[in-house]
């Protein structure tokens, strides 16, 4: 499963939350591909996914969170997704 976190460079809130969100994702998903993307470097891709607010999180190319979730919310969303795909 590919998780992409779009952030605005210099966003303190994103930097502080990234490690705990990544840990929650690792707990929820076995085959995790975690990417942190500066929206300025990946603007076209972000627009393609429909990212309008920052930070945002996409899972397998689908925008899932348009603001920062808590690690628990991310964990639960990923578990639900994994169960659906199983």
């Amino acid at each position: 499963m590919k998780i992409e976190l779009f952030y605005s460079p210099g966003c303190q809130e994103c930097a502080a939350a990234q490690a705990s969100l990544k840990a929650a994702a690792q707990q929820a998903v076995a085959d995790l591909e975690w990417r942190e993307l500066s929206v300025l470097d990946e603007l076209d891709y972000a627009v393609e996914l429909g990212v309008l607010t920052l930070p945002s999180i996409a899972v397998d190319g689908e925008l899932v969170f348009s603001s920062l979730p808590t690690p628990k919310q991310l964990y639960e969303a990923l578990r639900r997704r994994t169960a659906r795909e199983a």
Binding site: G10, C11, Q12, L43, D44, V51, L52
Partner: protein
């Protein structure tokens, strides 16, 4: 101090615009003249310039109000404003993409109407618009 007319002239906007800005909380008079006219200071002129520039970049008045609040907030930093600017750019790019798709849809309709002398009831553009989807054209 400026009256509303003077401020409008200095800021190159109409008095109606200034009254609208005032209703939207973007400017406020600092007092009243002895005759009861509202008076504005130089900061109002600066704020109006700010509003006009921000509108030029696509910000709505509600977003501009937030930027003006950020400008005054001690805890805010340049990064907060930058994030809003990036989000505005994302919105604009999104709209541009949507408009390009609309333009392409029109290209298809225009191309499909090869015979413009046909009566209007046989118009392929009107017929296509009545359908639920416009067919993709093979390239």
């Amino acid at each position: 101090m400026f009256t509303i007319g003077k401020l409008a002239a200095v800021a190159e906007v109409t008095t109606d615009t200034l009254r609208y800005y005032e209703r939207e909380g973007l400017i406020e008079p600092v007092g009243k003249s002895p005759a009861g006219y509202r008076l504005y200071d130089k900061d109002s002129a600066r704020r109006i310039r700010f509003v006009k520039q921000a509108q030029h970049c696509g910000f709505t008045l509600a977003e501009i109000r937030e930027l003006l609040v950020l400008r005054r907030r001690d805890a805010a930093c340049c990064g907060d404003v930058r994030t809003r600017a990036i989000e505005k750019k994302l919105q604009l790019e999104n709209k541009i993409r949507a408009m390009r798709a609309m333009s392409k849809a029109l290209d298809r309709l225009i191309a499909d109407c090869a015979d413009e002398t046909r009566p209007v009831e046989e118009c392929t553009i009107l017929a296509a618009l009545e359908r639920t989807t416009i067919p993709e054209r093979a390239h």
